[in-house]
């Protein structure tokens, strides 16, 4: 049985700042633990920067072979705070991903751009990835994050830890802290720290930018627009609810538009009608059909 603690880590928040595109840094006094956002250089094309020479800062007493996971309470603005775990194989998921579309993290907007992989600018980003602790619709573990943050930034670091734990059955202390400027509803980025317990094979401390190349974001609200240097028409708002109809093939894990030719030949046993958000399907591991391109 998984053991979940409630965690309280104070995050100092001062001032609100509109950040343009992938820029960050500046004179902010925002901090989480020993990390100061003002130390982070502006985004320069790499999804992350190394902090403190990659050395994380975990308490000595937490280096244990007992797995645990903690998700900090939402702050007074409803924002996620820190998620912290000692990842072991016993925490890893044993069931398929569930739906997380019902969670609306602070600053959530459903908006599409053709220049974004999968089109949707924002994903519900797990602080501690599903592959590590199997958390689904836990509002204390989901933030509004760009596709770039999710796939290019955080996922490689999650993969590194997940595959190490699966291979060795060792433990990894793992902490993810969203970093906000003042009262902004969208995090400027996340700090990711990891350290293996039984050896020194996993060790990192990085800041990952919550940005999307070619898109500018108002981190106070989550509103976004195309950067002047990018070439694309205005963003497309989805339906008011962000929901659309799709047909899922539960065997091939593809999703289709209802009028797709692939739906006609689909086995009834594998067919499932779905109304909801597209990115929720992507987060569940479904891929868009290559014919109808939903």
């Amino acid at each position: 049985m998984k053991l979940i603690h409630t965690l309280f880590l104070p995050i100092l928040l001062t001032g609100s700042l509109l950040l343009s595109g992938c820029e960050t840094g500046g004179p902010a006094a925002t901090s989480a633990g020993s990390f100061h956002l003002s130390e982070v250089p502006p985004f320069s094309g790499e999804p992350y920067v190394v902090l403190n020479e990659n050395q994380p800062d975990f308490p000595e007493e937490d280096f244990t072979t007992n797995s645990f996971e903690s998700y900090g309470p939402l702050d007074e603005l409803g924002r996620c705070t820190t998620a912290y775990a000692n990842i072991g194989v016993d925490l890893m998921p044993t069931e398929e991903r569930g739906n997380i579309g019902q969670v609306k993290p602070t600053g959530w907007q459903t908006v599409k751009y053709d220049i974004v992989d999968g089109k949707y600018l924002y994903n519900r980003c797990h602080l501690i990835g599903f592959q590590l602790t199997g958390e689904n619709a836990n509002e204390q573990n989901l933030i509004t994050g760009t596709r770039y943050l999710n796939v290019e930034g955080m996922l490689p670091f999650e993969n590194l830890v997940a595959d190490y734990v699966k291979e060795t059955e060792h433990h990894v202390l793992y902490r993810v802290t969203p970093i906000y400027e003042g009262d902004n509803l969208v995090a400027s980025g996340v700090q990711m720290e990891a350290q293996s317990v039984e050896d020194d094979e996993v060790c990192y401390n990085v800041y990952v930018y919550n940005c999307q190349p070619g898109i500018e974001i108002d981190y106070a609200t989550g509103e976004s627009w195309l950067a002047e240097t990018a070439e694309e028409p205005s963003p497309t708002e989805n339906t008011a609810s962000g929901e659309e109809r799709y047909v899922l093939n539960t065997s091939s894990k593809k999703f289709h538009k209802p009028d797709c030719s692939g739906v006609q030949s689909m086995s009834e046993a594998n067919r499932q009608d779905y109304t909801g958000e597209r990115d929720a399907l992507l987060e569940q591991g479904y891929q868009p059909c290559g014919i109808c391109k939903p």
Binding site: Y48, V50, N54, L155, P156, F157, N159, L160, D163, Y164, K166, E167, T168, D200, E201, V202, C203, Y204, V206
Partner: protein, 138 residues
């Protein structure tokens, strides 16, 4: 010499001076491939093969300098193979088919540099869904 390297989807080998990943199925395949032959590596890598029996594992920090013709070299911590390129008879790549962070990437791209692929097999790993093994020669 025959050089063996593990790579992620971006050609990465290391992050923060540590291997990106490992898989006992890869270690087993390497030992089987090198059975009866000399297999060189450094001390960092030797920890992965501590229970290897029947293999002639030799350990040295400068093993790429010492390895002779026909001998195997398992390379984890040296991403710069260019200085040894003329001595490489075969380049054997194990691809994790995963994206990991990397700050050291292999400086050879055999497919783009005219090497000839003479083998490609896939097998399931212990902790990786699918591992691709590619063998290149000049």
């Amino acid at each position: 010499m025959h050089v063996i390297v593990c790579l992620d989807d971006r050609g990465g080998m290391l992050f923060h001076q540590r291997r990106q990943s490992r898989d006992r199925a890869v270690q087993s395949d390497i030992l089987q491939m090198c059975r009866g032959e000399v297999l060189w590596m450094n001390r960092y890598s030797q920890a992965l093969f501590s229970d290897a029996e029947g293999n002639a594992i030799r350990t040295a920090e400068d093993f790429l300098e010492q390895a002779g013709a026909g001998e195997y070299c398992f390379v984890e911590t040296c991403a710069s193979l260019r200085p040894y390129e003329k001595n490489i008879e075969h380049l054997i790549l194990y691809r994790w088919n995963r994206h990991y962070p990397s700050d050291a990437r292999l400086d050879l791209d055999p497919a783009a540099e005219g090497w000839r692929q003479i083998g490609c097999t896939e097998f399931p790993g212990h902790s990786h869904e699918r591992i691709t093994k590619e063998v290149y020669t000049r």
